[in-house]
Amino acid sequence: MLEFLARRLLVALLVCATVLTFAFALTRLGGDLAISIAGPNATAADIEQVRVAYGLDRPLPLQFLEWVGRAATGDFGQSYFFKEKVSKLIFDRLPITFALGLVGLSIALAVALPLGIVSALREGSWTDRAISIVALLGQAMPSFWLGLVLMITLGLHLGWLPISGTGSWEHFVMPGIVLAFSAIPALLRLTRSGMIDALASDYIRTARAKGLSRRSIVLKHAARNAAMPVVSIAAVQLGFMLGGSIVIETVFALHGVGFLAWESISKNDFPTVQAVVLLLACIYTLLTLGADLLNAVLDPRLRAS
């Protein structure tokens, strides 16, 4: 168990270190940063001034080491555009992105779990096939477009929900629905296959033989065992959702981390872009690490391998 833990932690740390390097390299892709920061109308003197002011005149390895050193202590420097500390900018907006992710995940689970269970109970039937087509439909839905369509229908025509902004919990419903669409197919398929495996197992036959009610067999015995992989995939999906929130936050003008990332990308605000990439990657790594550990605790068989 301990060895498993240590190995898993080491991989997570290495992933974070890789992303750290990657995030730094990402902003250096375009060649001279100073030119992009100074803007299209800058003179050579302006560019030189920017270069010195932001420390871009020093050798690249030195810039990298300095950035890593400060990032390790949670200091991502000053935003070029917002003229504020990047860490403060991000932490001010993180709650909104998390709220959106949780709303999205809850909606996705509320749809995917019942559909997956029904699908498994009627494996091979028309219902099963219809539900799998629903999953394919969800997979094909362009999220930004679905967002706009909901704004027109639920927002403008029916007037049920506010169209954009962050004022109340109602502002999170539409973006949450859109975000949920991206996670439903994977969660649904996994619930279905987990339930099918569980229903075919020996302990279910025993439960049937004992004469337990169908309801108790499905919900108490099978669903519990099918839940485990779903929990870990749900964690992974939450990670993807936080990363994917950039599109949805932009569509709905929700001022979370995704919106911040979008703004900083369009304003060439590199310290913020680097920090958000790193942060989202680390959150994802943490979530998957947590899911793996949870699985190891719940299922002793996994620890051995």
Partner: protein, 277 residues
């Protein structure tokens, strides 16, 4: 049940086939030049609405460009991006996956680590940042997505290679004195192609959706190219009064991606039931 599956596969194939034909023959099919602006004919509605004009079946956009012509050219961009990206990401992913699965040991650890690291990187955010730093063009979008979307190819190629590696015909090839590269290229690759074909269809669909999202955010295919994502972005300001400007390209995008997914799903079922070896 089986009949329904076949319907799914057939309709998927029909949608994809139609999109390929439209993409290839777009210049012959369009009624107007998709780039020609006519400000006296701005935002004309499509044929089923009042005020439609003859000659503009799907109306015109905010610059008076014929919407049907732009939609047909848009199929070109989507198919081009989908296929080119999948070829690029397929080459990377299959190379990595086969290497990991074939050699095992340290090499496999490195491949697994690369997959884990890639999955942790937020896809859209990084793609947007790269396009923004390097500058937007069709080639940049294809290269960026190609470099990011190889993970599923790698996962499937790795597992399939491991399954095939120890089978008798590979052992026979070793015994016959075949070289390592011959075994990989002639014995292993042909036998893992079918699961990879399923991955490829899913990746084409994903690449098309991602391109549309990037173009929608203004960092994908540059205007005036008629990418469907870009058409939705350009129509966004008018959508509350003329919803069809975003409905038409959105439905096209949705139907194409749905068709590709149906095709992929159908292929996977065929493989599982063993009707295609």
């Amino acid at each position: 049940m089986k009949a329904l599956r076949d319907i799914g596969l057939a309709s998927g194939a029909a949608i994809v086939g139609a999109a390929v034909l439209v993409a290839v023959f777009a210049p012959l099919l369009v009624p107007h030049d998709p780039f020609a602006q006519d400000l006296s004919r701005r935002l004309l509605p499509p044929f089923w609405m009042e005020g439609a004009r003859e000659g503009h079946l799907l109306g015109t956009d905010q610059l008076g460009r014929d919407y049907l012509s732009r939609l047909l050219y848009g199929a070109r961009i989507s198919m081009l991006i989908g296929i080119a990206t999948t070829v690029a990401s397929g080459l990377i992913g299959i190379a990595l996956g086969v290497a990991g699965g074939f050699f095992g040991g340290r090499i496999d650890d490195a491949v697994l680590f690369a997959i884990t690291a890639r999955l942790s990187i937020p896809l859209i955010l990084v793609a947007l940042a790269v396009v923004s730093v390097v500058g937007s063009s069709l080639t940049v979008v294809v290269m960026t997505l190609g470099l990011l979307l190889w993970d599923r190819f790698a996962v499937v190629a790795r597992v399939s290679t491991m399954q095939v590696r120890n089978l008798d015909f590979v052992a026979a090839a070793w015994a016959a004195g075949c070289s390592r590269s011959r075994i990989v290229l002639r014995e292993i690759l042909p036998n893992i192609l079918s699961p990879l074909a399923v991955v490829a269809t899913l990746e084409v669909a994903l690449a098309i959706l991602l391109e549309a999202a990037l173009s929608f955010l203004g960092l994908g295919v540059p205007p005036p190219l008629p990418s469907w994502g870009l058409m939705i972005a350009e129509g966004k300001d008018y959508m509350f009064f003329s919803p069809w400007v975003i409905m038409i390209p959105g439905v096209a995008l949705f139907v194409l991606v749905f068709g590709i997914n149906l095709l992929g799903d159908g292929l996977r079922n065929l493989l599982r039931t063993g009707r295609v070896a």
